[in-house]
Structure formats: structure tokens, C-alpha cells
Amino acid sequence: MTAETQMESYLTELRLHLGSLTIAEREEIVREIVAHVRDSAEESGASVETVLVRLGPAKDLAAQYRDGLLIRRASRSNSPLVLLRGALRLATKGVFGILVFFVGLFGYAMGGGLVLTALVKPILPANTGVWFDGSGHFKSSGVLFPPPGSSAHEVLGMWFIPIALTVGSLLLLFTNWAIRTALRLSQRWQSRL
């Protein structure tokens, strides 16, 4: 295989694994890698093949660009879906990422659930709320079918709506902030020596 063919083969694979980037971003990266290979080969007198080996597999190099970009985009986003996608990517890298992903999932599920129950309360007032039994112990909460029997009483009434909306929204905001912070921190740890 000639040097030119080896280079083309490497760049084709690099392009393939940079698929999620825009064409302009991809070609800019490819152009820089081509310049590096030429410079490095000239400087050290090494063959193109040796320089490509030193660069590492095209798939891994592309993953560093891709992950950096995805996590960076996510760390600046307010969309729970984009943030969770970034956290999922982080989860493939280690225990910290797995923890961030599951804490994020739990936070969104709890926050979203609370907001949803607040919206359901005006439609199903008897089935939605927080119930305590006769001796003052917590029995249940949420949207229940059927609602708890006469031994339990709902304690919040229509106050359930503002309380659930506030707590749910705060939980969603906190989860957003926590994932964004974790993603920003992780960007500094990802570089490979």
C-alpha cells in the first residue's frame, strides 16, 4: 500500500466516524490532520504509516473530537434531552458518567412527574394529592386509581398544584444545573496522554 493510499484510507475512516459533525467541521479536522501527518513525517523522517500509527486509530481520534463536541454542546444546553444524551455519552467512559446519567434520569423523572401531577390535579382532583392515614402517617402521593379509601385523607387540597409545580420545577432546574456542571467538569478530564 502506498503512502497516499494509507493516508486516504485513514482519512476515509476518520470522516466516517466524524459523521455527526457538520461537513465544514469534518473537513477542517481532516485538513489539519493531513497537515500534521506531512509535518510529522518531514520532521522525523518517519513514514506516513508510522505517523498514522502514532496518531492512533482513526476511530479513537474521531471519538475524541465527537465526544468533546457532543459534551460541549450539551454542557451549554438547557434541553433535558440534549443534556441526557451528553450524560449517556459520559456514562460510556466510567463510573462518574454512569452516576451522572442515573442521577439525571432520576431528577428528571421526579421533577417531571411532580409537574405532571400538578397539571392532572384540576382534572382528577379526587385521585391526585398527598394522603395521610388516621394516625397522621404518610400513606401515599401522586395520581392514584382508585384513590385511597376513607381511612386516609388528602391533606393539601388545591395547594397541591402550586406546591407540586414549584418543587417539580426546582428539581428540573437543579437536575439541569447538576448535569451541565458534571459535563463541564468532565471535559477537563477527558484528554488522553
Binding site: 490532520i33 497537515a35 510529522s40 473530537y65 468533546g68 463536541l69 471535559q187 484528554s191 496522554l193
Partner: protein
């Protein structure tokens, strides 16, 4: 570099700890290379090797530069070189200079405090029982 040493107690290799430490400093190091002027990728790799003992895998620096540029800490331009092909030169932006200055201050203050703490450890005396 000695690869076989282990930390007594937890079995972790000091090299792994050292690698984590270097990773933490890499962003600052990449920015610091450009303090005195623009450089292209391979020059940055060699500058780091010669001035900081940070030896990088050749493909490592480019995704980092890409990220720092996306954070508006660096700017880049393609320049036609005598070598016959263009090279992508990186320079610090004003925001990059500011960030680097803050990082350098934090690093100096942190390492000064820590050096003071570990001073007795490096003295070639008896190990306390």
C-alpha cells in the same frame, strides 16, 4: 519512567495518578504554549515536550485545541508555509489570555501550599514510625 512502582496501601500505580494530574493541567499547558505567539499543532506538541515534560500522543492535542477554540479561548488561521502545504496556526484570544492568567495564579497558589505541605516528605531523613 518506572512503570512497576505501586503505592503502598491501595495498589494504585503512581503513574496513573501522575497521568490524572497531567490531564488536569493539559488545558492550561496548551494555552500557555501560545502565550508568546501563534503556533501550529506539531509545534505545540514539541513545545510541551521541551518545556513541560508533557509528552502527548500525537492525536491528543488536536481535539483539545478544537474544544478550546469552540470555547473562544483560541482563534486559528490557515497560513501557507514554505513546507508546501498550509498549516493551522493557533493564537490566544483576549478571553484565552484572561483564563490562562487566572489558571496560572490558581496553579501557583495551589502548588505553593502543597509544596510546603510535602516538604518534610522529600527530606532524606528517617521515615516516622
Amino acid at each position: 519512567m518506572e512503570n512497576k512502582r505501586t503505592l503502598p496501601g491501595d495498589g494504585e500505580q503512581p503513574d496513573r495518578w501522575e497521568a490524572q494530574l497531567r490531564k488536569g493541567a493539559l488545558e492550561m499547558a496548551a494555552l500557555a504554549c501560545l502565550w508568546q505567539g501563534r503556533l501550529y499543532g506539531l509545534e505545540i506538541i514539541r513545545f510541551l515536550e521541551n518545556h513541560s515534560q508533557l509528552v502527548l500522543a500525537e492525536g491528543t492535542i488536536y481535539p483539545i485545541l478544537n474544544r478550546l477554540k469552540a470555547e473562544d479561548l483560541l482563534t486559528s488561521e490557515w497560513v501557507e508555509a514554505e513546507a508546501g502545504h498550509p498549516r493551522k496556526y493557533y493564537s490566544l484570544t483576549d478571553a484565552g489570555r484572561q483564563r490562562l492568567r487566572l489558571m496560572a495564579e490558581a496553579w501557583t497558589s495551589f502548588s505553593k501550599g502543597l509544596s510546603h505541605l510535602i516538604e518534610p516528605v522529600l527530606e532524606p531523613k528517617e521515615i516516622p514510625q
